[in-house]
């Protein structure tokens, strides 16, 4: 009886159960018992992907990153480089490249990543500067460098 009351009370205070950080563990049921249905639960149409050896991005002919795909998502995004130091992703919806730095020292890794990026796409620095490229450092890599959206360093 008492246990049942306790369970009811815990269920009545949803703000108390969930962890406030992602550092803990636990089955923190908010208490409503409802299955969450997300708008994303609907299936989306697959995006047509570029084929052939090359395709055009921002007016620049680049190597087809889908031929170097490490992982593709249903919505067409492709991961075409991924190692301990950096990763490259291409987002077809916005025709945009994301370079993510994954290791310190950040400045040194950025230069390595940029050199690999232009080599992978088989383009010049001038051409690379025409592309939509965002270079970023996640918070877990370096909190002092996180939150900044950088462009390719040689484009400035």
């Amino acid at each position: 009886m008492f246990s049942a009351l306790l369970i009811l009370i815990i269920g009545a205070f949803p703000g108390l159960a969930p962890s406030k950080t992602q550092n803990g563990t636990g089955d923190n049921d908010p208490g409503n018992g409802a299955v969450i249905t997300l708008p994303g639960d609907q299936q989306t149409e697959p995006t047509p992907l570029p084929f052939g050896n090359e395709f055009e991005s921002s007016g620049v002919l680049i190597q087809n990153v889908y031929n170097q795909s490490i992982k593709k998502l249903d919505s067409g995004e492709v991961l075409f480089a991924d190692n301990t130091q950096f990763s490259f992703a291409y987002l077809p919806q916005t025709d945009e490249f994301i370079i993510t730095i994954l290791e310190t020292p950040v400045d040194g890794i950025i230069h390595t990543a940029e050199a690999t990026f232009v080599r992978t796409l088989a383009i010049s620095h001038t051409e690379a500067c025409k592309l939509k490229v965002s270079v970023g450092v996640p918070y877990f890599v370096d909190d002092s460098r996180a939150g900044k959206r950088l462009s390719l360093s040689f484009c400035e």
Binding site: G24, G33, D74, K132, G147
Partner: protein, 192 residues
């Protein structure tokens, strides 16, 4: 004291503790406010692509004043594939996935709140979705995690690397006031 009153006393203490705890919890979640103004601090840029406001505005309301776009960018740089598996090495009890770096060790926080398509994926793979969530893919010893079920982990990682899934799940956390789920919110909170 009569025996039948004891449970009532204990019950009262528990209720008081929870209410008090809830108040403290709420205070912790309140955003810092600059004297005389609503903007506190933000060294974070709004992201591009999936962390742009134009993409995220489909999911988030204006009341967050684009803080979600800044947090998204600070967490993942807008890279939906990003996985930070620091629990494997024991650095921290986190296995963070995707745009908002959702920690699979604690999310979804229960089987009953697992999103429907994730439940379906779990069920199709042969698991009982009423008894299985992403945390079941791990064995956690202190801060160190061991992958106990690679198949289940793959299902969860695949689900949370889909941008729309990740964003919509993050929205649920935001709507519950769980800003502190993101340590980058210290940098990127922009309104009270």
């Amino acid at each position: 004291m009569p025996l039948f009153q004891k449970p009532l006393l204990i019950l009262s203490i528990i209720i008081f503790a929870f209410v008090a705890g809830g108040l403290v919890s709420h205070a912790t979640l309140a955003q810092p406010t600059a004297p005389g103004g609503s903007i506190v601090k933000s060294i974070c840029d709004e992201g591009t692509g999936f962390c742009s406001t134009s993409y995220l505005d489909r999911s988030f309301s204006d009341k967050f004043d684009n803080a979600y776009a800044r947090i998204c960018h600070a967490e993942s740089t807008g890279n939906p594939f990003l996985v930070n598996d620091v629990c494997i090495s024991g650095v921290s009890p986190e296995y963070n996935v995707g745009l908002f770096q959702i920690n699979l060790l604690i999310n979804p926080w229960s089987t009953s709140t697992t999103p429907q398509t994730l439940r379906q994926a779990i069920a199709i793979a042969g698991y009982d979705p009423t008894n299985t969530t992403c945390a079941n893919a791990f064995t956690l010893v202190g801060s160190k995690c061991f992958v106990a079920d690679q198949k289940l982990l793959d299902i969860c990682v695949n689900w949370f690397t889909q941008p729309l899934n990740n964003v919509e799940f993050a929205k649920i956390l935001f709507s519950r006031g769980d800003w502190q789920q993101w340590r980058s919110s210290d940098l990127c909170i922009v309104t009270n």
